[in-house]
């Protein structure tokens, strides 16, 4: 906004007389009370939502996790028994942890790095770049059910485009992507990489926020392209990378829809993929809670996931101090 805009909006100020001022102060305290009341009224729907749909369930979940509860008969108090069972007697839980961690490890870091590389490529000033940006972003807005349907077909062992191409072009017989326990998780990673556009677009916004002046100054000082990337681009967009990383980890720990759809080909059965290879944390919560109606046990699983995510987020914020660069902090 330029200064002339501001000047035209500025109000004329006339000095007030003594009684006027007193009148104004009474008026203004009433105004303040009025304003505060209005403020509460305006945020009321949100506040009620916070109480009934966030805080209430949050605490209720902690309570359920300490009980045995089938959703019909009243919860029966168990203390920490659910947690003990989950951690010490439930091999399926550890399988779910393993599968989830496998997926987080295999999808988040490649997603973050490839998304950044893609954004760097799409930040080049060449003609027609917006068409490419749109094209790479499109897959990430396709509804999950639709894109899973598409990948079920593409990755089909006999009729799929991928295996057909592998066979015809490279003379390789492709694996049973979706029906083998070895390949079901890699299939999921392939599906997720198709959607890296969502991270890419955030990076792109970050890259375009880096002031051009910095590059010009560095170029004058004789810094090469690689050095400019390392010393300017990377530090300047490190908060964006951090943001994408945090969201990526929280999101992929909680991934449900594609895993459930890929693993639940037998409609009406607890979904877990071939030999439980797609038994992920949230899928396990779903199966326990909504398939076996063990709401208490499922709540304990959910709370454990919550605790793990909080710890991971906390660690990341601590580590972030070493590598994330915030402009305002230096200015202060």
């Amino acid at each position: 906004m330029n200064t002339s805009d501001k000047d035209t909006i500025k109000l004329p100020t006339t000095p007030l007389s003594q009684p006027q001022r007193r009148a104004k102060s009474i008026w203004s305290s009433q105004l303040h009370r009025r304003e505060a009341l209005d403020g509460y009224i305006f945020i009321l729907p949100w506040f009620l939502g916070l109480l009934f749909f966030v805080m209430g369930p949050f605490i209720a979940g902690l309570y359920y996790s300490l009980t045995e509860y089938d959703g019909l008969t009243p919860p029966r108090w168990l203390g920490l028994q659910n947690y003990r069972n989950v951690l010490f007697d439930d091999s399926k839980f550890w399988l779910a942890v393993y599968n989830t961690a496998w997926y987080v490890g295999a999808s988040v870091l490649p997603g973050v790095i490839l998304g950044l590389l893609l954004a760097l490529l799409l930040n080049q000033k060449v003609r027609g770049i917006t068409v490419f940006r749109t094209l790479f972003y499109l897959p990430s807005i396709v509804p999950a059910v639709a894109s899973v349907a598409l990948f079920i077909y593409i990755l089909h062992d006999r009729f799929g485009l991928l295996n057909e191409t592998l066979f015809q072009v490279f003379n390789v017989i492709g694996p049973n992507w979706l029906t083998s326990p070895t390949w079901s998780k890699p299939s999921l990673v392939i599906w997720s990489l198709w959607g890296i556009g969502s991270g890419m677009i955030i990076y792109l916004a970050g890259l375009q926020g880096v002031p051009e002046v910095l590059y010009e100054a560095a170029a004058l000082d004789g810094a090469g392209a690689f050095r400019r990337f390392w010393r300017i681009t990377l530090p300047m967009i490190s908060p964006t990378i951090f943001f994408v990383l945090i969201l990526g980890i929280i999101g992929s720990f909680q991934i449900f829809t594609p895993v459930f759809l890929l693993g639940g080909t037998n409609y009406g059965q607890a979904a877990a993929g071939p030999m439980d290879s797609l038994l992920f944390w949230v899928v396990y919560i779903y199966n326990q809670g909504f398939f076996y109606f063990r709401m208490g046990y499922a709540s304990a699983l959910a709370w454990l996931l919550f605790i793990i995510l909080m710890i991971l987020t906390f660690i990341q914020f601590r580590l972030a101090k070493r590598w994330v660069y915030y402009e305002d902090e230096v200015a202060r």
């Binding site: 059910v145 943001f243 919550f306």
Partner: protein, 285 residues
């Protein structure tokens, strides 16, 4: 000498651009292939399915796939249900999220900062931790197997992310407009309806698009709350359709494409708002 340097620079620039374009084109092929395959498969007849090289533009084009799948899968009903839920929830989100955002951005009241930091904290709350108790709550309210759990919560603030997004936007509006209106005797309700909302069309459009996609694409909530097939959404309907043994891949792709089309249309029409929303959410945190 000098002209040599300039020519050298131009050559380097050309080589760089050629490299960028070739990389872009290779990647574009990789990313576009699944989408093209989706479109072309949905228009094939049985004889064009298992050919090598693959058929990309089917001749003849079989439009009937859409019609047979649509009627066989009962998609009219799912489409209508999804539209009701999406529109019903969007209205609630736009209304109550903009209200809360107005309160947090423009009105001063005791506890505002504290409540706003609570709001920011709920942004980080993993959804699974409230999943089961919320289900129990709606069960006790007798809302199961109805659209209520999918629509009514949207009228209670519409989601912390949207409030945050709108508040960021409201704070960029010049405060003088609101001060002048207050001095002219306009109540905060009039200011909200007659000044704030009309001025905020770009930000509200952003929220509308995100909210549209959220409800249109949602799978987990309908899965949990809806049992009767006549109340299914498109997401549930498509899943059911996929599980039917007699369904052919062409029909599956046709319905996946139909579910995707509205999202892509909305994206193309409101692209600018979309990018704006990403910028606002990602950077000004």
């Amino acid at each position: 000498m000098a002209s040599n340097v300039i020519v050298g620079n131009q050559v380097r620039k050309l080589i760089w651009q050629a490299a960028v374009y070739s990389l872009l084109i290779v990647l574009a092929i990789v990313f576009a292939t699944p989408l093209l395959w989706l479109v072309s498969t949905s228009l094939k007849d049985d004889s064009q399915m298992a050919l090598w090289p693959p058929v990309w533009i089917p001749v003849p084009i079989r439009w009937e796939n859409f019609w047979t799948a649509w009627t066989a899968g009962n998609f009219s009903l799912y489409f209508l249900n999804t539209a009701i839920i999406t529109i019903g929830a969007m209205i609630g989100q736009l209304l109550t999220a903009s209200m809360a955002a107005f309160g947090f951005a423009r009105l001063r009241f005791p506890g505002r900062e504290l409540l706003f930091s609570v709001l920011l904290a709920t942004l980080m709350l993993p959804y699974v931790v409230t999943l089961i108790p919320t289900f129990v709550l709606f069960k006790n309210l007798g809302w199961l197997d109805s659209f209520k759990p999918l629509i009514i919560p949207a009228y209670f603030g519409g989601g912390a992310f949207f409030i945050f997004l709108l508040r960021q936007f409201f704070r960029t509006l010049p405060p003088e407009i609101f001060e002048q209106a207050t001095i002219d005797g306009a109540s905060n309700y009039r200011i909200y309806f007659q000044i704030l909302l009309p001025l905020s069309k770009p930000a509200l459009s952003t929220v509308a698009i995100f909210a549209f996609m959220q409800h249109w694409n949602d799978f987990l909530a309908p899965l949990i709350y809806i049992n009767s097939p006549e109340k299914f959404t498109l997401a549930l309907g498509l899943r059911r359709f996929m599980s039917l043994t007699e369904v052919r891949f062409q029909e599956m792709m046709a319905m996946a494409l139909l579910m995707t089309l509205p999202v892509i249309v909305v994206f193309f029409f409101f692209q600018q708002y979309f990018i704006q929303g990403v910028v606002m959410s990602g950077l000004k945190g």
